[in-house]
Amino acid sequence: MVTGTALEAELLELAGTVPDPELPVLTLRELGVLRAVRVHGTDAVEVDLTPTYTGCPAIEAMSVDIERVLRAHGMREVTVRTVLSPAWSTDDITPEGREKLREFGIAPPRTRRAAGPVPLPLGPTRTRPTAPNATTATDAGTSAAPYPEPRTEPVRCPHCGSADTELLSRFSSTACKALRRCLGCREPFDHFKEL
């Protein structure tokens, strides 16, 4: 991030203190969505903001909040631009941000392996008899469990810390979270999934 003047650095910091409207424990700085602040003249400012997900509706509330904070700081004209590139990643969440998510009861995203979803089994509801010579995933070398979760770093329960957790649904209360359950303390919890 390029910040030119002291005023720009100050405004960037100020915009960074705005809480995320959906996850108010996180600030925009900790979420990693503020890209740049440019001051034009003495009291006009342009802010570059990047969405977490392309369709994330929180971005509009973020823009309004940034405008309010910067106007209260004496800026007459505040323009918030949405920038898509480079694409936001959960790796942009700061270490403090991750810790706050955990304290809030949300398992933080694991840091980058390969991007993308972790294939998960949907559970052993195979009630249809399989043809005796059918070549299933078992034969394809996947393993006895039809579609196993590749064991990378486990998603830990934010409540008890157990690594023994299972996926309930890939999509939870928002697009950026998955719903999981701890097999240790039996508590369900949200997981900020890797993007």
Partner: protein, 243 residues
């Protein structure tokens, strides 16, 4: 929404990609209140929201997003006929998701790797679509390799939508893609998933005279008009309405 884009955007391509996302988003939204379980209710709505976000960016590259979404007639839409097909039962929705998200994922990965006007959006959306594709694959496996009933319904759904899958690989003006190679990779992936789901690859042609042309040329199937009527009704009755 202000999206930053290069000055010259191929409008035809922006409409094709944007309309695919918009129309499928609307169809998935129709599941709200009707999904078989709560988790799927939430999953389908989340996928719809991702697609709506992509549609907003893409249509904004082509013009005013609201005008394009709410004030165009049926013949001006450039989406694939596949995405406008009614939801049917849950298996139909999953088959449509499997066919489309596999296609969208492969196409966006190619666009993201290039330096064309769609690269920034594609680089972002490809990560979201990876989850859509995974969701569709997992459900195809579960339904295909599930009960007698789920197997039969999934097979029926895959066969019913097969005829709309050829259109995906018609070249789109302004999109630099290797369409023949894309089709090969798509077929390979779908064959793999269906085989693992103990389902046969549907037989029969994947495009033909029955489609009277194709969605990319603005020719749509009968259910699309009814869908548009519902989608556009509010805006046309109360222009500029907000809440």
């Amino acid at each position: 929404m202000t999206a930053t884009g290069p000055a010259t955007v191929p409008v035809t391509a922006a409409l094709a990609l944007g309309d695919d996302a918009l129309v499928l988003s609307h169809r998935l939204g129709e599941w709200a209140g009707h999904a078989p379980v709560l988790e799927e209710e939430v999953a389908l709505a989340n996928i719809a929201l991702d697609l709506l976000g992509q549609a907003r960016v893409l249509l904004s590259l082509a013009g005013d997003e609201d005008e394009l979404a709410y004030l165009r007639e049926e013949r001006a839409f450039r989406n694939l006929q596949l995405v406008e097909q009614p939801n049917g039962d849950f298996a139909h929705t999953i088959a449509r998701q499997l066919y489309f998200s596999t296609y969208q994922h492969l196409l966006y990965a190619d666009l993201a790797a290039g330096d064309g006007p769609f690269a920034p959006l594609a680089a972002k959306a490809v990560k979201e679509v990876a989850y859509h594709r995974d969701h569709a694959e997992q459900w195809t496996l579960r339904l295909g390799d599930g009960t007698e009933t789920s197997h039969e319904r999934m097979a029926r759904a895959c066969a019913a939508l097969w005829r709309y899958t050829g259109e995906m690989f018609q070249p789109v003006e302004g999109l630099a893609a290797d369409w023949a190679r894309l089709e090969e990779r798509w077929l390979e992936s779908v064959t793999d998933v269906l085989t693992r789901a103990t389902l046969a690859l549907p037989e029969g042609p994947r495009t033909g005279a029955w489609s009277a042309g194709a969605g990319r040329q603005g020719l749509h199937t009968e259910p699309f008009g009814r869908m548009l009527a519902e989608m556009q009704h509010l805006h046309r009755s109360h222009p500029g309405a907000t809440w």
